[in-house]
């Protein structure tokens, strides 16, 4: 059974004085399996937040179905084992961080001793131990994000939905959030998070879905995307002249050092043989792998070569 399921979800939102409707989601279908870390990627305004709000029952989809643990998203019971960190979280300014986490613990009907223990643990985990007694109105953006992370975990959730968990955090904070996500994953918790920072997704996710203009344009495993997708190799050799390596275009020379860019694995093998037979020395062969960045930009531009990693030329 999937933990999260979107099936052909469409949603329009009203805007302007006349409340004309803008079609924000056209067709969102995706599933998140138990224990997975799923990266929900897409550029600004592609509809990530809107999709997540549909999932949580904050918005009613115009069409399609959303399910959490096999129940409809607007069923409160479906949210018992769910943690949610909203985008740019904003919490009651008059409460202290600790009071906020405790209040949300009450909304899960947690007994007070469990609440107290988990609140302490989580405040420690998100590095807010010395600020938990301050009222939230004195919090910086990053502190708000941290306390938001703490409240999302108060019920020891089986599914955690994080809408841009790293936004507003300093490098240390990002590292800490990554560690929290990896820790959740290690404990078998399912994580669905949205982001446009691809390096984060690359480091954390099992699978990613790419949302663009309200449609899932691609969904696949991160490994599948990146594995073996060497775009090209930068190969360097010494002690040879360009003429001694026939059939290969030398990109640059520096004294008797030659620089090549090779896109095919067999070509690379032959190149190494030729260099060695000619008495040269292979100085360096460095593969350039595809990044999610390429995948992202490639898919959006409809550029299959870039998206699939079959392009002959990488970025200069």
């Amino acid at each position: 059974m999937s933990v999260v399921r979107f099936e052909h979800v469409a949603k329009s939102l009203p805007y302007g004085f006349w409340l004309r409707r803008k079609q924000v989601l056209l067709d969102v279908s995706l599933t998140v399996e138990r224990g997975e870390v799923y990266g929900f990627l897409g550029p600004n305004g592609s509809g990530k937040t809107t999709s997540l709000k549909c999932l949580l029952g904050l918005l009613r989809p115009d069409a399609g179905t959303v399910e959490i643990f096999g129940r409809p998203g607007n069923d409160p019971d479906a949210r018992r084992k769910l943690g949610y960190l909203p985008e740019h979280p904003y919490f009651y300014p008059h409460l202290t961080g600790r009071e906020l986490v405790d209040y949300f613990g009450r909304l899960f009907d947690l007994p007070s001793d469990v609440r107290r223990r988990r609140t302490d643990e989580l405040i420690e985990l998100v590095g807010m131990a010395d600020k938990a007694a301050q009222p939230i109105k004195q919090y910086s953006k990053g502190m708000m994000q941290r306390i938001g992370m703490a409240q999302a975990l108060i019920n020891d959730p089986d599914l955690v939905i994080l809408d841009e968990p790293m936004s507003g955090l300093d490098p240390i904070g990002r590292r800490e959030v990554k560690d929290i996500i990896l820790d959740l994953k290690a404990r078998g918790t399912t994580v669905l998070f949205s982001s446009h920072i691809l390096a984060d997704a690359e480091a954390l996710c099992d699978r990613v879905g790419l949302l663009f203009e309200g449609k899932i344009v691609r969904e696949s495993g991160v490994d599948e995307l990146l594995e073996g997708r060497v775009q090209y190799w930068d190969a360097t050799c010494d002690d040879l002249q360009a003429e001694q390596v026939p059939g290969y275009r030398c990109r640059a020379t520096q004294g008797d050092r030659l620089y090549f860019r090779i896109t095919d694995a067999d070509d690379l093998d032959r190149w190494i043989d030729i260099v060695r037979q000619a008495g040269g020395r292979v100085v360096q062969v460095s593969p350039h792998r595809h990044t999610l960045e390429d995948f992202f930009i490639g898919t959006i531009r409809g550029d299959r070569r870039l998206a699939d990693g079959t392009g002959s030329e990488g970025p200069a």
Partner: protein
Amino acid sequence: MIGRIAAIATHTFKEAVRDRILVLFVLFAFAMMAASTVLSWLTVGSELKIVTDLGLGALALFGTMIAIFIGITLVHKEVEKKTIYAVLAKPVSRWQFLVGKYCGLMLTLAIVTGLMAVFYLALVWWKAGEFPVHLLAAVLLTYMELSIITAVAILFSSFTTPMLAAVFTVAVYVVGHLTWGLASFVEVAPGAATQYLVSMLYYALPDLETFNVRSRVVHGLPVGRDYVLDAIGYGLAYSAGMLTIATILFRRRDLT
């Protein structure tokens, strides 16, 4: 479920009592009650009546103002400030949220009316020389009126801005004190259709005069137990109706 509603109610209560404006309202009410004693000196013979009448009036007026003032922002503020997202992403259904808010404000009003009532009853006690037991019913009925006004304010707050909600709620309050006239109008209204319409209107709008027993208590007349129980039943039923409609509207609402 009860635990969650209670959590939302206590949170709402704590937030409400932090507001300094609440203290101001209560002080104003005290001042008005105190002023009524001064006024009563000018009218020889009916001193007690003046204090009883104006004091109860002040209690009802300031209670109503607080109910409207806080009620109209209760839901809207949470949506506007986006604090509601994290709350409704918990296993909290929308009706529980509304009922929690309602109970929180009713708790606030219980404390506030309680304070005003203590001051008021003490004042009358001092004037009359004996404890005015019959006024307890009047205070209780005033609180029931506030329960209706709160429910109406929350109903409007759940789908419109505080500004419009205030206008609508005040309108319901004013009309609510005139509806008893509608009841007698039903008999004399021309035509069956008009009669039907008028009686529909009568049932849709709250009959707030039910809770106004000032003219009785001013003359030292007790309010019957059955009358009080009926009025409480009416207040609870009407509030429940308002909250049901609020839930129906709010459940359909997109929280963008």
